[in-house]
Subunit: 338 residues, 2 copies
């Protein structure tokens, strides 16, 4: 394939030293005599020698790659996480392998196997699905354990135990948002969520329901709708919700795309927030904020999540004995008009 990769052997020969010495110049220059070292370095530069990562990794029994697995790489939420992780790995000290799983279990597992083949040094992982059956969970944990590498679970707490993780406090966010609406006199509050096979959907619903009950309001089934966190589905659900006879006066939307779907449905009816109905969305939508669209939202900071995720991973890479650590990031409620 490659015509003429220059190898460590070539450099050694040309410099009149052994491969071991060239290797030392590369990895541990100060143990090599200055004169030898500079001679070798000059030849490395001249021949434009670039060591082979495969050979190095194989020989060191240690890879230089980190796996990054997310379900939706083109969602600004995950983009921002990716960006923060990229920045945290300064100078390409590690190599980032990026996998998109489309919320698909099969792709998720394939990605993990691929990363296992690469013997990744660490894994930043947002599970594509919840792995709810016992069999699925056992299988997943087995794969993760067998990777024998630090793992940090991001955003979706699927309760497989024994792994570091970083999450937002979605429960509290939803609880506070719902409470705030109630305090403003709303009693008919809807939630556009996702189906409850997703842990985040369950958590968010719990926060919502608990807040209602704590205020003596019994949650109503028809105000509790479940999509898939994508815009199209949220849009369709919103249309139905808005067409109810006894419709809600406030709607909580459970992620950025859901909020957009809701707004789209609203617009088609020539209605507006907060004039015709009140909304609190989960996640800021930067573009709308810039436009002066003062939406109410529960803020989660994905860049912070990316940064902290990498910190957790580093910590674990340094010391595998430390106790499991789960970081819960607070959300913040931004209210303009409810």
């Amino acid at each position: 394939m490659r015509v003429a990769d220059v190898t460590i052997q070539d450099i050694a020969r040309e410099a009149g030293v052994s491969k071991a010495t060239v290797s030392r110049v590369l990895n541990n220059p100060y143990i090599v005599e200055i004169e030898t070292r500079t001679r070798v370095e000059k030849i490395i530069k001249k021949r434009n020698y670039t060591p082979s990562a495969s050979a190095r990794n194989l020989s060191k029994r240690m890879s230089d790659t980190i796996g990054f697995v997310v379900p939706e790489i083109d969602n600004p939420f995950f983009c921002d996480i990716l960006r923060a992780v990229s920045s945290a790995i300064d100078d390409f000290h590690f190599t980032l392998i990026c996998c998109n799983t489309d919320d698909d279990m099969e792709k998720d597992l394939k990605a993990l196997v691929m990363l296992k083949e690469h013997r990744v040094r660490g894994l930043l992982y947002t599970p594509a699905v919840d792995y709810r059956t016992e069999e699925e969970r056992v299988h997943l944990v087995k794969i993760l354990k067998e990777m024998e590498t630090p793992v940090v679970i991001m955003d979706r707490h699927i309760n497989i135990g024994d792994f570091d993780g970083i999450y937002f406090n979605d429960y509290q966010g939803m609880y506070n948002a719902t409470k705030a609406l109630i305090q403003q006199g709303h009693t008919k509050i809807a939630i556009i969520n996702a189906t409850l096979d997703r842990v985040l959907a369950r958590t968010r619903r719990d926060g919502y329901i608990d807040a209602l009950r704590d205020s003596g309001i019994e949650p109503e089934e028809r105000y509790n709708v479940e999509g898939d966190y994508r815009m199209l589905k949220a849009y369709e659900l919103s249309k139905k919700l808005l067409a109810l006879k006894d419709r809600p006066t406030a709607v909580i939307t459970c992620n950025n795309n859901t909020t957009l779907g809701f707004f789209k449905a609203l617009r088609e009816r020539n209605e507006q927030v907060p004039r015709d109905i009140v909304n609190i969305g989960l996640d800021m939508i930067k573009e709308l904020d810039v436009m002066g669209y003062r939406m109410n939202f529960i803020e989660r900071d994905p860049k912070l999540m990316g940064q902290k995720a990498y910190e957790l991973l580093s910590r674990r890479m340094k010391d595998n004995k430390k106790p499991i650590k789960e970081v819960i990031l607070d959300t913040k409620l931004h209210l303009y008009d409810i």
Copy 2:
């Protein structure tokens, strides 16, 4: 490091065959006798053996990775490209190494060196900067050539020749947009661009200026402003532009973030498009579209770019002798109210 990776040797021993046979079962199962094959396969499964990518790559003198280098991974434009590339690589057939360079030459070069170490099988590359000096260009081309791997340049045509590439027809897009404004009677048309050390800024300016001149309008210096394609800078430039005594009646904004910066400045003045001033932006802004904000824009389809980029790469991986191919994707003008 790793406690007990099971290797091909372990499988071979347990199956009572040679490593070569296990290797064949893995790579070329049908040349192995059915009985042997199934026995080996069973043990592979039982021991959960996962071959080492480093060892495989080293031995095959061929990597299974593809490099992806972009300047701004958290810009929806590049996110969409990444997503499309991910999808095009079906089933993780290749492993995607992802690098963000922040429009920084140093990071760009470091990324390339890192990818060279990994002996990537192909490279999808949007240069961080233009590499304008002869010295820089020679250096860059040297690095790219020495990677000895198919390269597809994306989006930024920096004229280093000899590489496949995929670009949008930004010139035509700008030309058409400017012409459309002129046809509506606008003569004072501004452009918020980036500094001309960027090829895309030059291309876009050319389209704009040529359209003006073709209509007998002499471009005015003060209507031609240059930022960095980020929102903050665009916002500041927009404020100045809008405050001019003899200000333009139409403004072309040269990427998504620039458009947002312009809108922000406009909003602060309590002005609106198209009532107070007309705008045509480059790139759709999905969130605004959903909100029914009928902005005028020059559409570029980043998903298409990602998909085609990967097609070009595949083509080149299959046959290194084919002539250089540059694909220019058309843009499409969407006008609602100018």
